[in-house]
């Protein structure tokens, strides 16, 4: 096993070295851009179309129209619903022809290790400076050479304030769910998100690799299941259920909680202080992209404060664009929303990324998850 892992690491390294070599040489057709990165790029080097494989409902159409008006490039968007689905599309038969993808944090590191992502030429992305430092050089791209932060959010807890005896502020309360409200609790049908709750309540990291810790979290969640009989749903369904009043409280992604709150004024969304999950989706150029240059021009365009703001206002998720926030371009009802833009300083170390991708660890989690489901 160890040798295989070593081999894979070796292959990954050779792959990425080859990639570095390939990207290190500047493209011969655009030497002038490299010298004067702030001037608008010449249209002749741009492709006519940009193909973006993106999450569903994840970009404002108006922004794409503006890009076309300014650069004459039509952005075609195809959609996926999970990182693994997107990854599979590239693994089975290579890049089908996408210039741009939007992998989440852990998927960036996984795809970089597999040599599936190109290094970006940041000379062509001067607006990268608008991105807040807290969204740069994160664990999945420590030197920040492959990715540009696009959207971010958390996994928190939504509840109906008229139906719970007291407001929820931490996961500890969630795992002490009153027996009187049996069947009225929802948890995410996601192996890592669910187990992270158990781990964090026990004081461990949501990224624990020790089987004993994972099993302790499993037992806690099985016990909770016996007492509270929680329903496992995906996040959009959790929103539907809480709006309808079928459940009184649920683990949920920020994006869906915002939807639920809009439909039902009694719904409150909190990011529990005893460590919650944070995630970040990133713009990356997959290996074999038809036009990396066009993709980079587009990424730079998306990092403009007014464009980032227009996009964030439409999509309703957190933008990492610090300048857009500082200039007050984000709609106030979004910008002042502590669910979308939680006070990261106040939460301090209470936010963590869920790191996935180690097959052995993933297997441990999956087994624990299956045992919870069948308990």
């Amino acid at each position: 096993m160890n040798r295989r892992k070593f081999l894979r690491l070796g292959l990954g390294l050779t792959g990425s070295t080859a990639l570095m070599a390939a990207c290190g040489a500047p493209a011969p057709s655009q030497p002038q851009e490299a010298q004067a990165p702030t001037t608008s790029p010449s249209a002749e080097a741009l492709a006519k179309e940009l193909s973006w494989y993106n999450w569903g409902s994840y970009v404002a159409d108006s922004v794409l129209e503006k890009f076309k008006a300014e650069f004459g490039v039509t952005v075609k968007v195809d959609v996926y619903s999970s990182n693994e689905e997107m990854e599979a599309k590239f693994k089975a038969g290579g890049n089908p022809g996408y210039d741009l993808i939007t992998p989440s944090d852990y998927m960036v590191s996984k795809m970089v290790a597999a040599g599936m992502i190109e290094k970006l030429n940041f000379d062509r992305i001067p607006n990268f400076k608008n991105i807040d430092d807290s969204h740069k050089k994160l664990y999945f791209d420590p030197t920040n050479e492959y990715s540009v932060a696009y959207n971010w959010g958390c996994t928190g807890f939504a509840f109906d304030k008229t139906k719970l005896p007291e407001p929820i502020a931490n996961w500890k309360q969630v795992t002490n769910w009153p027996e009187a409200l049996r069947g009225k609790l929802g948890m995410l049908d996601d192996v890592r998100e669910l187990l992270a709750v158990g781990l964090r309540v026990l004081g461990y990291s949501g990224n624990a690799t020790d089987p004993a810790e994972i099993n302790a979290a499993r037992d806690l969640l099985i016990d909770l299941k016996r007492r509270a009989n929680y329903a496992l749903t995906d996040s959009p369904n959790a929103a539907t259920n809480i709006v309808a009043g079928d459940i009184f409280g649920t683990q949920i992604y920020t994006s869906d909680a915002v939807t639920a709150r809009r439909e039902n004024a009694n719904v409150v969304y909190v990011i529990p202080g005893d460590v919650s999950t944070v995630w970040q989706d990133n713009l990356c150029v997959p290996k074999g992209a038809p036009s990396q240059y066009t993709a980079e021009v587009f990424i730079d365009f998306m990092c403009r404060p007014e464009i980032a703001a227009e996009n964030a206002n439409e999509v309703g998720l957190g933008t990492p664009n610090a300048v857009a926030l500082k200039q007050g371009l984000i709609a106030p009802e979004l910008a002042e929303d502590k669910a979308i833009y939680p006070d990261v300083a106040a939460l301090g170390n209470a936010l963590e990324f869920l790191k996935k991708g180690d097959p052995q660890v993933d297997e441990l989690y999956q087994r624990a998850f299956d045992e919870i489901k069948t308990a």
Partner: protein, 281 residues
């Protein structure tokens, strides 16, 4: 896939039972109950979907008020429209392709006797029972091997491949009670082969062709699994697009577009029925 097989338009000749359950009797009550639940299972979900496409709320859980906003959103959402257009293009091409190939194949198999016929017949049935996922993966590997880039072309080829057996089955059933003497009579009267085919064979086969075309069109339109594997850049069909929306939740936009698709299917069935009725008289 196999569960979808209904040989549309192939009227069965079963006579009504002589003894009709008396109104109010136990068997009458049982029949009414079964019928009621059958229709309820089939149509209540669709009715709910249509109703909620007129709901102003974003989540599908509660009724707020009547609104046409989701239809407006559908018609201003270029991506939904593109996906719907892709679906229709693929469905039309796949229908034409599979009906032509399937019909010709059925005619050949019906008319010629050869030694390995039984084996070929079985092979033609096979795709009906092969799990879609197996077909999807094998097509993907095949296209990757011959390095055909994924897109509308691969979608159409795949859809023809899985629609064809259904057309073939329908046409074989139709051809089984085809009166060959009519063709012979036409040729006795001096018609050449092409004229016979055009004036005699084709009109007689038309009900079968229409039902198999409808079947192929519907199968192609709502296929997800195979399309998911063979779709490429800018060629996502509607089911694949809807799937991609799942993480951000199914919006009533999806209900609206589904209602429109349903309307289209109903219109198609009515048109097909009208054509068939006119030909029978």
């Amino acid at each position: 896939m196999a569960s979808d097989v209904i040989l549309l338009g192939e009227r069965s000749e079963i006579k009504p039972p002589r003894r009709i359950a008396r109104r109010g009797s136990l068997s009458w009550f049982a029949l009414v109950t079964v019928t009621f639940f059958t229709f309820a299972f089939l149509y209540v979900p669709i009715a709910v979907l249509i109703a909620f496409s007129f709901n102003s709320a974003r989540t599908g859980a509660t009724w707020q008020s009547f609104s046409l906003q989701w239809y407006e959103r559908v018609f201003s959402n270029t991506r939904i429209l593109e996906a719907a257009a892709n679906s229709l293009i693929v469905a039309v091409l796949a229908t034409v392709g599979s009906v032509v190939i399937g019909t010709l194949m059925a005619m050949a198999m019906e008319r010629y006797q050869f030694r390995t016929k039984l084996a070929w017949d079985a092979i033609l049935y096979l795709p009906v029972i092969i799990p879609e996922i197996v077909m999807g993966i094998s097509l993907l590997i095949f296209f990757a091997t011959i390095s055909l880039s994924r897109g509308i072309v691969t979608l159409v080829i795949s859809h023809i491949a899985f629609c064809m057996p259904f057309v073939y089955l329908t046409m074989r059933a139709r051809l089984a009670d085809f009166d060959k003497s009519l063709e012979e009579a036409a040729q006795d009267l001096g018609a050449d082969e092409w004229t016979t085919f055009r004036r005699i064979t084709l009109p007689l086969l038309m009900p079968g062709i229409i039902s198999s075309a409808l079947l192929a069109f519907t199968l192609s339109l709502d296929d997800f699994v195979i399309s998911f594997f063979v779709t490429g850049v800018g060629s996502q069909t509607l089911p694949v697009y809807i799937w991609g929306q799942i993480r951000r939740g199914i919006t009533p936009e999806i209900n609206a577009i589904s209602t429109l698709m349903l309307l289209l299917s109903i219109v198609l069935v009515i048109v097909a029925q009208l054509i068939q009725r006119r030909q029978r008289t």
